[in-house]
Symmetry: D2
C-alpha cells in the first residue's frame, strides 16, 4: 500500500541465447513491481544494436513483432518509475549511443549523487545532454575516456561517478554488469538452462525464465560477458557493502532473494522481532496487504495470536476519475482495501504494515477497521520510523512530508488514530536480516548517509 516510496527501476541483461530479447521481456515482466511507467529493451545482433522503449507496462510496450526486430543473442532491459509530468519518452532507458568505438546501450538502477557536478564538467567540455537522466553522464564519460578499449573506458567512467549504480552495458559483441562499491541496489547473476547468462535486479526474474541463481554480482565488481567464454570478473573497487535495507522492508518481491537472502524470510524475521520488542494483548494479527503479510505471519507465529487476512486487497484496481459522492469517505483506500467485517467486529486487532511514510494511508486504514467494529487497533510497523529521504535510487517524499521526521511516535499514534503504535528498532531490524556486521544502509531511518 505504499504510494509514496518507490523503487526507481529494474535492470536485466541476457547473454548467449537465441531469443535474448524475449527472455528480457519476460524478466522485465517479473520485475514490473519496480517500475510501471516505461519499459525498454536493447538487443545486439553482433553488428548493430536495436532499441525499443516506450511509456507503459512491459506487456503493452512489446508484442511479437517488436521482439522480432530486437534480434540477436544478447539484450538488456529496463522498467522505470517516473515522476515526470509530460509525455516525453526521452527519459526511458536503455540509453543508446553511437560513439568512437561503435554503439552501446546502458541500463541503470540507482542514483548518482555527483551527477550535476559531472554533467556540468562534461558540458563545459562541449558535451550536450539530450535527456534529464543522470545515466546520460555515463555514456559521455565512456565516449570521452582516452582509453583504447571499452572495458578500460567503463572502468574509467565508473571512477568518475558516485552514488548507487547497478548497471548493465551492451556493446555489439559483449555485455558488462557492474555494481557500485557499496552494492546499494541488488544485482544477481544466473545461468540460463541452455547455457547463457542472465543478470537481474531480483531473482524472481530467474524463476520465470527457468534460470538458476549463481551468485550476486559483488559490490565493486565488473563482470564481462563474451561469446563462448565464462564471465570474467574484475574487482574495480574494494567492496564496502551498504545494501539498501528497504529492499527487504518493502521493495523486493517476497519470492526473490536479494543480497543473498530470501526476502520473505527476512520479512518474517522482522515480524518475529516485532512481536518480541512490542508485544500487545490482542485477539488477531492482520497484515496490511500485500507488504505486511510475511511480517504479520512472523508476528503471529511468535506471539501465538491468531493470524487472519482481516483486510482484503481488490484485484480490479485502477484509476477512476469519477468523483465519489459526499457520503463516500476514504474512497481511495476503499477501492483497494476492504475489511473482513465479521472477523474484525468486536476484536482487538494488531495491524502490521512495513512502514509509515506520510501517515495518511495508515490513518485511513485504521478508521476503516474501527468502522468495521474493531474494539482496539494496535499498529505495529516492521521497520524503524522513516525520518530521512533516500539519495541512492529510491523515490521518497521530502523530509517535510515524512511524518516521523516531524512528529514523535506518540504524536503519530494520535494522528493515525491507533490505540497503540510501535516500530521495529534498528538493531532488531539488522538482526532480522542477519547483519553480522554493519553492511547495510539504514540512512532512511537514521540520516547517516555514506559520504
Amino acid at each position: 500500500m505504499r504510494e509514496d516510496v518507490n523503487e526507481k527501476c529494474a535492470v536485466v541483461g541476457i547473454f548467449g541465447h537465441q531469443e535474448a530479447s524475449k527472455l528480457a521481456y519476460f524478466s522485465l515482466h517479473a520485475l514490473q513491481h519496480r517500475g510501471q511507467e516505461a519499459a525498454g529493451i536493447s538487443s545486439s545482433d553482433g553488428v548493430k544494436l536495436h532499441t525499443i522503449k516506450k511509456r507503459g507496462l512491459v506487456m503493452r510496450v512489446f508484442d511479437e513483432a517488436k521482439l522480432k526486430t530486437l534480434s540477436g543473442s544478447s539484450a538488456i532491459g529496463h522498467t522505470r518509475y517516473s515522476t515526470a509530468g509530460d509525455d516525453s519518452i526521452l527519459d526511458a532507458q536503455p540509453v543508446f549511443a553511437r560513439y568512437d568505438l561503435g554503439e552501446m546501450a546502458i541500463v541503470h538502477n540507482g542514483n548518482l549523487t555527483n551527477a550535476d557536478e559531472v554533467r556540468k564538467a562534461l558540458i563545459k567540455k562541449g558535451a550536450i545532454f539530450q535527456t534529464y537522466m543522470d545515466t546520460e553522464n555515463l555514456i559521455h564519460l565512456i565516449a570521452k575516456s582516452e582509453k583504447a578499449k571499452l572495458i578500460d573506458r567503463i572502468i574509467d567512467a565508473v571512477h568518475r561517478i558516485e552514488g548507487a549504480f547497478s548497471l548493465v552495458f551492451l556493446s555489439r559483441t559483449k555485455m558488462f554488469a557492474m555494481r557500485d562499491r557499496h552494492g546499494f541496489r541488488p544485482l544477481s547473476l544466473g545461468r540460463l538452462p541452455s547455457g547463457g547468462y542472465i543478470v537481474a535486479s531480483e531473482t524472481c526474474a530467474f524463476d520465470l525464465v527457468g534460470a538458476t541463481y549463481i551468485r550476486d554480482v559483488e559490490p565493486g565488481e565488473l563482470l564481462i560477458f563474451e561469446k563462448d567464454k565464462e564471465p570474467i570478473s574484475i574487482k574495480v573497487f574494494e567492496p564496502t557493502p551498504k545494501h539498501c535495507i528497504f529492499e527487504y522492508v518493502y521493495f523486493a518481491r517476497p519470492d526473490s532473494s536479494v543480497f543473498g537472502q530470501s526476502v520473505y524470510q527476512t520479512r518474517k524475521n522482522m515480524g518475529k522481532e516485532l512481536a518480541h520488542v512490542s508485544p500487545v494483548e490482542a485477539d488477531l494479527v492482520i497484515p496490511v496487504p500485500d507488504g505486511g503479510v510475511p511480517s504479520a505471519i512472523g508476528y503471529a507465529q511468535e506471539s501465538g495470536i491468531p493470524y487472519e487476512m482481516g483486510i482484503m486487497r481488490n484485484h480490479y484496481i485502477g484509476r477512476t476519475f469519477i468523483e465519489p459522492t459526499q457520503e463516500m469517505r476514504d474512497l481511495k483506500v476503499k477501492m483497494k482495501l476492504s475489511p473482513m467485517i465479521d472477523i474484525i467486529k468486536g476484536k482487538r486487532v494488531i495491524v502490521i504494515d512495513d512502514s509509515i511514510v506520510r501517515g495518511t494511508t495508515s490513518r485511513r486504514i485504521i478508521r476503516m477497521l474501527k468502522e468495521a467494529g474493531a474494539s482496539e487497533v494496535h499498529m505495529r510497523v516492521s521497520s524503524p520510523p522513516t525520518t530521512d529521504p533516500c539519495f541512492y535510487g529510491v523515490d521518497t517524499p521530502d523530509k517535510e512530508h515524512l511524518i516521523a521526521a516531524n512528529k514523535t511516535i506518540d504524536e503519530i499514534c494520535k494522528y493515525i488514530e491507533a490505540d497503540s503504535l510501535a516500530y521495529l528498532d534498528e538493531a532488531s531490524l539488522l538482526r532480522s536480516v542477519n547483519a553480522t556486521k554493519d553492511n547495510y544502509c539504514t540512512a532512511c531511518f537514521t540520516g547517516k548517509y555514506i559520504v
Copy 2:
C-alpha cells in the same frame, strides 16, 4: 486461480439517491470479480430510462460524461461473464424494452432452466428474440401478461420461469427486486447513508458506497421500491432455500456476507474441518492464492502446522501473446503464481485449494512446488470432488472435462502428481456453513439437482 468455473454475473439496484448511477458504478466495481466481460447501467429520471452497456471492465465502460447521461434517482447495473466469441454487445445487460406500460429494464443473475421451452412458446405466439440471453424471456412474459399493473405482471412472469434468478427491475418510477423460491443466487438489501436503498449480489458493494446491510432479499420474495415509501414485501413463492454452496467455496468475495454469513468465516471453517478429516504430517500449510487463503489459515490454526504464504500471486497479470521459449515450461501458471523457494525447499508442504476442476492447474502448481524443492506436496481441497455441472447460473465445463467425474481420488492424486490428496466431505462442508437443515444446493458435488 479458477479459470474454469465462473460466476455468471452480478446485479445491483439503487433507489432514491440523486446520483443513483454513480452509486451503481461504484457498486459494480466492487462486484467486478463476478464478471469482467461487459458492464451496463440503466437509470430512470422519472420520465425516461437511459441505458449504457458495453464490453469491458466497469472502469473502462463508464466515465464522468456517461454517468451524467444516466441521470435520475434510481439505477440498476450488471457485470457479466461471457463465453460468447464474437464482438456482439447484444448479450450485455440491462435488457431494455418499451412495451404497453412504458419502459423497463432488467438485470438478472442466474440461469432459467426452462428458458428454451418458454422461448419456444413465446415465439409460437409471435414474439421475436433479439439476443441469446434467457433474460429476454422475462420482458416478453411481462409484456404479454394480461394483468393491468406491472407488479402483477412481474408476479405472472416469474410464475412462468424456473431455475435460478436474482432479478432487479427498473420502471420509470419504481424498482423491483426478486429472488427465486430456492434463493440459489444471493441478493442483499441495504440502506444508503442518505436514506435510499441498495440491493446487490454481495454486501461488499455496500461497504464501498457506505451503505449498511439490512437483510437478504428472501427466497421467493418480491420487494417493491417506491418514492417516499418503505419497500413493500410480497411473498410470491413459499421459500424452499437451496443456496449455492459454491458461493462460499469460491465465488463470493471473502469480505462479503452472503446468505447471511461471512464468507471468510465459512471458508476458515472449511479449512478447520479439513484439518480434522484429512490430517497429514507436514512442515507447512500454504494456500493457493487468493481462493485458498482463508481455508489454509483455518487448516493451520486447527492443525497447529505453521501457515506460510508459500506461493505468491503476481499483480501485474495480463494476457501476453508472446510465445515462451522452449525452456520455459508452465508459463501460464508462472506468470500468475510463483513459489517462495526459500520457504518451501526441503519442506513437506500441505497446499490448500478451494476446488479442483480439470486438474491441469493443480498439476502445474504441484510441479512448481516440487521444482522449488518441496520434499512432499499434500493437496487438500476445501470442498468435495466437483463431479457435476451447474444449471443454476454458474459456468462450468462439461462433465467430461470435470476430472472428478472421470477419475477416482487416487487417480486424480496421481494425475496432479501430489504425494497425497484429500477433499472435504459433503457433511463437513455443510457443517462449515452452519447448515442446520438441508437448505443448500450441493448438486455440483452430488448430481442431485432440484427438480
Copy 3:
C-alpha cells in the same frame, strides 16, 4: 461540406459467394459516405446467422478474424448515420431476430412514416421494442404475420408500413431485396464476377468488388435470391416513382449511378442549367469542394468562364478539441477548406455549391474568399432553396433552422454576404435529371409531400 443534411444509411446484400461477408465489407467501405457512425454485417452459413455490429467506420469495426466468424455464402451489411448521443450500440443494424420460422436479419435505408402508429399497435398486442429504430417494426410484423412462408410474411409486413424503405432481408437460406412503391431511396442489382449477386444502395459498391450493374430493383418490387436459381421478381406494389432528387444534388457518390443515371452527369447538367438561368459576369467559376465540383464544371463549360479549383479541401481533417486563439476566426471551416489566394485575388468569382441549408457555412466560405481578395463573390446553388424537412430517410434540421424557410433569397444573399445569389429552379433541376414525367420527390424544395 454539408454537415447539416445527411443520408441516413447504406445497405448491401451479397448472395452466392464463398466470401460473402468480405464482399459486404468492401462494399460498405465504398458506401461509407452514406453513414459513418456504425457498421454491421450479418452472414448466413446455411444453418445459423452471425452478426457483428459496432460503432465506428467500416475499416475499424471489422478485421480479418471478425470477417472469418461471419462465415457463409450470403451476407447483408449496413452503415449508419446517427444523432444518438449515448454510446448505445442498440441502434446499429442489421437487426437480428429469432422467431417462429427461425432466424432473420434486416438492413434498412429509409424512414417509415407510420412507424409510431404501427409500433403502438404492436405494443398493444404484447410486442416489446428493444431499440429506437423504426426498422424493429418490420421484424415484429414478419414474426406476427399468420402466413406460413417467409416470403408471404414479408409481403404482409411491407403492406403495413408506409414511407421510404430500401430493404435487404437475410434468412438462413435466402436473401430478399425490396423497395417501397415510390422508390424513394436507391437500390441496384449487380452480378458478381463469379456468378453470385449483389444489391447495394449505390453502384460505386459494384465497381470496388468487380460486379457489373444489371438494373435497379424496381419501386414496389421484391427480389428473392435462392441457391442455384435466378432471382425471382414479385411486383408487390404498383410502382409510382418518387425518387429522392437530393441523391443527385448531394448524397450519392459522383461515380455512382442511381435511379438509372450517372450522378456526375446529372450534376454537370445542373451546372449547365444554372449557367442558363442565372448567368453573371465574372472571371472565374469555382466549386465548394467536393460537392460543387461537377456542377461548377458544367457551369464553366456552359458559360465559357474559366473553371478553377479556387478552394482546396484539406485531407487531414479530423476533430480537434483545441480551442482556437482569439485571432483565429472561422477555424472550423478553415481546417477543412482554404482559398487559393493567388487565383482569387482581385477576381470576380462565381462559387458553386449544391445547396444552402443553414447558411452559416456559406457565409464563412464567402468571408474567406473576400479575405483572400475576391473583388466580387456570386453564389450559385445547383438546387432550389431548401425550405422543408425530409421524412423519407434524410436527416435534415427542423424547418426553423432552414434559412430558405425563413428568409427571402435577397435576405439570404445579405446574410451570407454574397454580391449576388441565385438558385436553380425546380423545372431546371428536373430537366437536369431528365425527369420526363413527375417521378421525383422534391418535397424538400416544395413542401409537397406524398401523402
Copy 4:
C-alpha cells in the same frame, strides 16, 4: 497519388505570442501533408524549454492538456515523414539539448550531404550520438563551437554543414531561422495578427492562424527573433538559389506560395505548357487527383478540350488489412480512386499526372480507365522523366526503381499500357515557374547535382 516520393518534413516557428504552442499546433496541422509519421513541439517560457514529440498525426499527438504544458511565448514545431521500421521515437524532432549556454531545441527540413563525415569527426572528438538524425550534428557543432554567443556559434555550425537545410532554433529567450545558401527547401516569414512572428515551410500555415506573408527567409540568411525587437537579418552565405522544383511539381499544397510564387498557378502553367508541347486529339482532359488537378485545368484551358473530374478520390481511405478476393484486382488503387464510368465510356481521354516514379500506379490507373470503357488513354505528365534520386531532403526510391532511369519513354508508354505518353520538357517546366535564370534544382530530372 504519389506513394513513392515524399517530402521529408515541415518546420514552423512562432515568436511573441501568448499561446505560441497552440499556434505551432495549428500550423503543423496545415503542414501535415509534408509528414505524417511523427510530430513535435518545443516551447520556451523564458526559463526552460518544454518538449513533447510522439509518433502520429499532429491532431493525435497533442491535446489541450499537453499544449498547456508547452507554455511560453515562443515555440517551434516539426512534422516528420519516416521510413524507420521500429517504434523508436528517438528520431522525432525537435532535437533538444542542454549545453554550456543553457538549453536549445532545433527543427530541420532538408538533408545534410556531409553528415557522415561531420559525425565521424565529432565522434572522434568524443561526441556521442543518440539518434540516427543528421540534425543531431548541429547541436554538437553549436555546443562545441568556441564562440561565446549562441548567434556566433550557429554561424560557426552552419559553415560546417553542407546540403539542404531550412532550420528553426529555439533558445530560452530567442528564436533563429536559417536557410542554406541554395534555398533548396522553402521557408517563409509572416506576421501574426497580434504582432508576433511566424516562420513556416509553406504559407498555408499562415492562412490558418491568420498571419500575413512578409517575405521568404532568403537563401543564406539567418533571422534572429528577440523580444520587443524587429527580426535582425544576417547574410551568412552569399545566396546562390537552387530551389527544389519538385515543390511546385508535387510537394507543396496548391494554396501555398513557395519561393515567392503561387503553387497552384505554377501547376496550371505546367498544364498549359504541356498542352503546347504535347497536344493530342481527345474528348476529355482528366486529372489524377489531387496532384494533377491544377495542371489538368491548365491543359484543358489551353487545348480547349473539356475538363472533367473523370477519376474520384475516396475520402475514407485508410489501410485495410483484409485480403481481397481473387476476383478483386488492383484493389489498392481502387480503394483510393474510382472512375466516372459514364463520363469516360467510349471517350478518348487525356490523363494528367504530376510525375511517374515507378510506373506501377500509372499502369493501374490506365487499366482502370480502360475497364471503365475509355477508347483511348493518353498520359501527359507535367514534369520531365524522373531519372535520378534526391539528396536534398526528399525521400525517393533508388535509381534502379525509377522507371524513367531504366526505360525509354516508348517503353514506359508500353509498360503503363497507355495509347500515348508525353512528359513536360525541362525548359517548359522552368518557364512554367518563371525561372528567368538558372535558380532551380532539377537534379531529379537531369542528374546534375550541385557539388
